[in-house]
Amino acid sequence: MVYALCFALFVIGLYCALTKKNIVKIVIGLTIMEYAVNLFLVLLGYRKDGVAPIVEEGAGPLEFLARSVDPLPQALVVTSIVIGLGVTTLAIALCIRLYEKYGTFDISEIRRLKG
């Protein structure tokens, strides 16, 4: 059930990236898709009644192994969040440049004007 809701978030972002004419809306759709994918990866690694993967002082190692959540998807998602920041920054820079060259954000107008 949780997986289905997370996938619905992804599909909403996909719909927005496919059908909108405003280029900033397309960038927003891409960002929603990226949030949904990150959430899905972390959902895969959750253990029921688990603890965070940080070793406390004086805890037994075997009990920590049996109770902690999976740390590997969390490391991958940290990388993914920071890369998403870089890509969205580049997309916003392109949007600003397109606006100052064509005077509009509308992609059907830009396709018709062609500099």
Partner: protein, 160 residues
């Protein structure tokens, strides 16, 4: 880009030091508590963005010029590479944690994990300098009303 009112400037003068200190804290204790280089670097960049928004671009560029930010950015990336090659040179494996293997420290203290601390500092430096540069150059472009009534975007003169 001009600054804001007196209230914002006074509050910024007191608060920005604490944000900077918090960012440094999250970078340095990345191996003991949640945090690490990326989150700390972004927080340090946010403190400089606050300074830029409250005081204007010229004031901030006098404190940290864009050339210095470029140098910090590249040196952060180079420091990370040097740590990697250092592992290759003396351990035989790329990125080996040589300081931990040769001089292990006591657990749960600040100096306990060898090259992880140096890597965190390098990445935090790099991320902070990059985001500050992007913000400074985003605040250069502004919209003016051109002669024929439509809106055009001009750029102020480039510094340096």
């Amino acid at each position: 880009m001009t600054g804001m009112t007196v209230i914002v400037k006074t509050v910024t003068r007191w608060v920005k030091v604490f944000i900077f200190l918090y960012g440094i804290y999250i970078i340095i204790t990345g191996h003991l508590a949640p945090g690490g280089g990326f989150a700390g670097g972004v927080i340090i960049a946010c403190s400089y963005m606050l300074l830029t928004l409250a005081y204007g671009k010229e004031f901030t560029l006098k404190r940290l010029s864009s050339r210095a930010a470029h140098h910090l950015d590249s040196s952060g990336a180079l420091l990370f590479l040097v740590v990697a090659l250092f592992g290759l040179g003396s351990g035989g494996i790329f990125f080996a944690n040589v300081l931990q293997n040769r001089y292990p420290g006591a657990k749960f203290t600040l100096l306990s994990s060898g090259t992880i601390l140096i890597s965190n500092i390098a990445i935090g430096l790099k991320v902070a300098a990059s985001l500050f540069l992007i913000f400074v150059i985003l605040s250069v472009l502004r919209i003016v009303l051109a002669e024929d009534g439509s809106q055009k975007m001009i750029q102020e003169e480039e510094e340096e």
